[in-house]
């Protein structure tokens, strides 16, 4: 991808309509090596899905260029479509009133796969994705995890060289999501090039070879998960729990030397406070002074995770 830019034009107002331009992608440059599992990380609306849709030929870029397997996604649409697979997260995108097997047969023909190949490949995919035995059931009776695995089977029907996965684990239960991540990692290990979008940092950390962080349509960092963490290498994290904390208390924490951000999360009976800072031991020794009278529980310091690095890079904006 070189200088990839996408601007959507929409209208605002009911009677007096005015045109509004929304910049979804603002000059993206990315290169993904064959066999790589690449993760594009970003908040909702950051431009992840737009990027995937351009690469899968569903959208045209406003400017810039993108090539998949050396083929231009704008001018060589047919060739690109034959060599890629794609899976969008969520339950939609399947024929619920047909069986899983009928869904796969239909798409096998739309991908122009010879019958003798699809007859062999479909049962293999059903077995590999844990759907064997349920293939004759209507999709409307499938669990969300089964639907997502059926999506993945559909994406693999044409044995694509490159697979695009747009938030594939969204809405899945932890076990289903873990199983799907293992499958995706297995596909990459088997030689498939995979372009994955997610906003689950641990997911990217666990399976991606390289990642890029996108913010407001621009790439703000890219590299291995380890190198991204090193970008905020000086940052450590102090976490603790309190029964309650006042806005003034949070302001005093933010005012401590070396503190870059403070976030809170409501737990069932407490509030967890996460402090990103340059020198965790210094912050820990000052906690008692800053939060005088507040009882602190489970105070700990740890190294920054990919999620911490992501929060530092992206902040609270999309």
């Amino acid at each position: 991808m070189t200088g990839l830019r996408k601007v959507y034009t929409s209208t605002r107002g009911t009677f007096r309509r005015t045109k509004v331009q929304n910049i979804a992608l603002d000059g993206i440059d990315l290169a993904i090596a064959p066999g790589e599992l690449f993760g594009l990380l970003g908040a909702n609306g950051a431009g992840k899905t737009t990027t995937v849709k351009i690469l899968t030929t569903l959208l045209l870029p406003t400017s810039g260029s993108a090539r998949v397997l050396g083929r231009d996604v704008v001018t060589e649409t047919g060739a690109v479509r034959r060599q890629i697979g794609f899976v969008f997260g969520g339950e939609r995108g399947l024929y619920w009133r047909l069986s899983g097997l009928d869904n796969l047969r239909y798409f096998a023909d739309l991908y122009l796969i010879p019958p003798q190949v699809s007859k062999q490949r479909i049962p293999e995919l059903l077995a590999k994705l844990g759907l064997a035995g349920r293939e004759h059931d209507k999709v409307e009776g499938y669990s969300r995890g089964m639907k997502q695995r059926l999506h993945l089977a559909r994406g693999l029907l044409n044995d694509p060289d490159v697979l695009f996965l747009d938030e594939p684990t969204i809405g899945l239960d932890p076990v289903g999501a873990r199983d799907l991540r293992l499958l995706i990692r297995g596909l990459a290990d088997a030689g498939k090039t995979i372009f994955l979008t997610t906003h689950y940092m641990f997911e990217a950390d666990a399976i991606c070879d390289r990642v890029a962080v996108i913010k407001k349509g621009q790439i703000v960092a890219q590299g291995t998960p380890g190198s991204i963490k090193q970008l905020v290498g000086e940052i450590g994290v102090v976490e603790f729990e309190v029964d309650a904390i006042t806005p003034e208390g949070l302001d005093r924490l933010r005012a401590l030397p070396g503190v870059s951000s403070v976030a809170t999360a409501d737990l069932e009976l407490a509030v967890r406070v996460t402090v990103h800072c340059a020198h965790p031991p210094d912050v820990m020794t000052r906690l008692g002074l800053v939060l005088d009278g507040v009882s602190l529980h489970r105070v700990s310091a740890r190294e920054a995770t990919l999620e911490d690095a992501y929060v530092e890079l992206v902040g609270d904006s999309t």
């Binding site: 569903l58 479509r81 009133r97 239909y106 023909d109 739309l110």
Partner: protein, 259 residues
């Protein structure tokens, strides 16, 4: 080529199976044609007008038209609602091949509209078509089917890029009943409207169909068939441009994903 034919066949099969379980299909090919046929038969047989063919066949033609014209497009709208429109758009099979499969299933269901309406005419109103010329009738029905097919293939991509196409084209469905003379001769229309009728291929095919069902000395079957086929060929040429436009437009606006 064989792979594309197989893809169209699968689209036909899947489309047919999805319609068989949809209540709308039964409204369109069974209930609505019977209602129109019943009204037409009641008016034409009780008033003594010698146009019983319009009562016997009119409801069937309307049902055929409704299913052929709208079901293909509505099925694209259904694809949008269930999130599969992007999936079928991004496969190597061109969209028009998938649409052809869908429309063929519409035509099959649409043709079935003649079963309840002809049965109603025969058993309910004792109306028959004793002067029917079977060969000319079969050819005229074939030409009518082709003209419906081409119109449906041409208009269906509009549903993919413009959500308002669903509303507008549904609204125009009934206008065509009158403009093409499905239930009465277009000579009954105001003279300023008749030129519009002449630009619509079903007008000529319908005229031939009714003439073959009811002996008409002035009938010029070959000219009417050729007029319907010629207009269909023009529509087909325009639809080629429309498909190219739709492909580009859909990829610019991202409308395929919008429900």
């Amino acid at each position: 080529m064989r792979a594309l034919v197989r893809a169209a066949w699968r689209a036909f099969e899947v489309s047919l199976r999805l319609r068989v379980v949809s209540p709308w299909t039964y409204l369109n090919w069974l209930l609505f044609p019977v209602i129109f046929a019943a009204i037409g038969l009641f008016m034409l047989t009780s008033s003594g007008i010698d146009r019983v063919a319009y009562g016997v066949l009119g409801g069937g033609i309307i049902g055929f038209w409704s299913v052929a014209y709208l079901d293909g497009g509505n099925s694209i709208q259904d694809e949008r609602w269930q999130g599969t429109l992007e999936q079928i758009f991004a496969v190597p099979t061109p969209l028009f091949v998938i649409v052809i499969g869908k429309i063929l299933s519409s035509l099959l269901l649409g043709l079935m509209s003649f079963i309840p309406t002809v049965a109603l005419a025969y058993f309910g109103f004792h109306a028959a078509l004793p002067g029917l010329d079977p060969v000319r009738f079969a050819v005229s029905l074939g030409v009518l089917t082709l003209s419906f097919f081409v119109i449906a293939v041409a208009l269906t991509p509009l549903f993919a890029v413009w959500r308002w196409a669903f509303t507008v084209l549904n609204g125009l469905e009934m206008a065509v009943y009158g403009l093409c003379g499905f239930m009465f001769p277009i000579s009954q229309l105001p003279s300023w409207l008749q030129p519009i009728s002449y630009l619509l291929s079903p007008t000529w095919a319908t005229r031939a169909l009714y003439a073959s069902a009811n002996p008409t000395p002035s009938a010029n079957f070959v000219s009417w068939w050729l007029a319907a086929l010629g207009l269909s060929a023009i529509y087909l040429g325009l639809s080629f441009l429309l498909y190219r436009f739709v492909d580009a437009r859909a990829r610019v606006t991202g409308q395929l994903a919008l429900a």
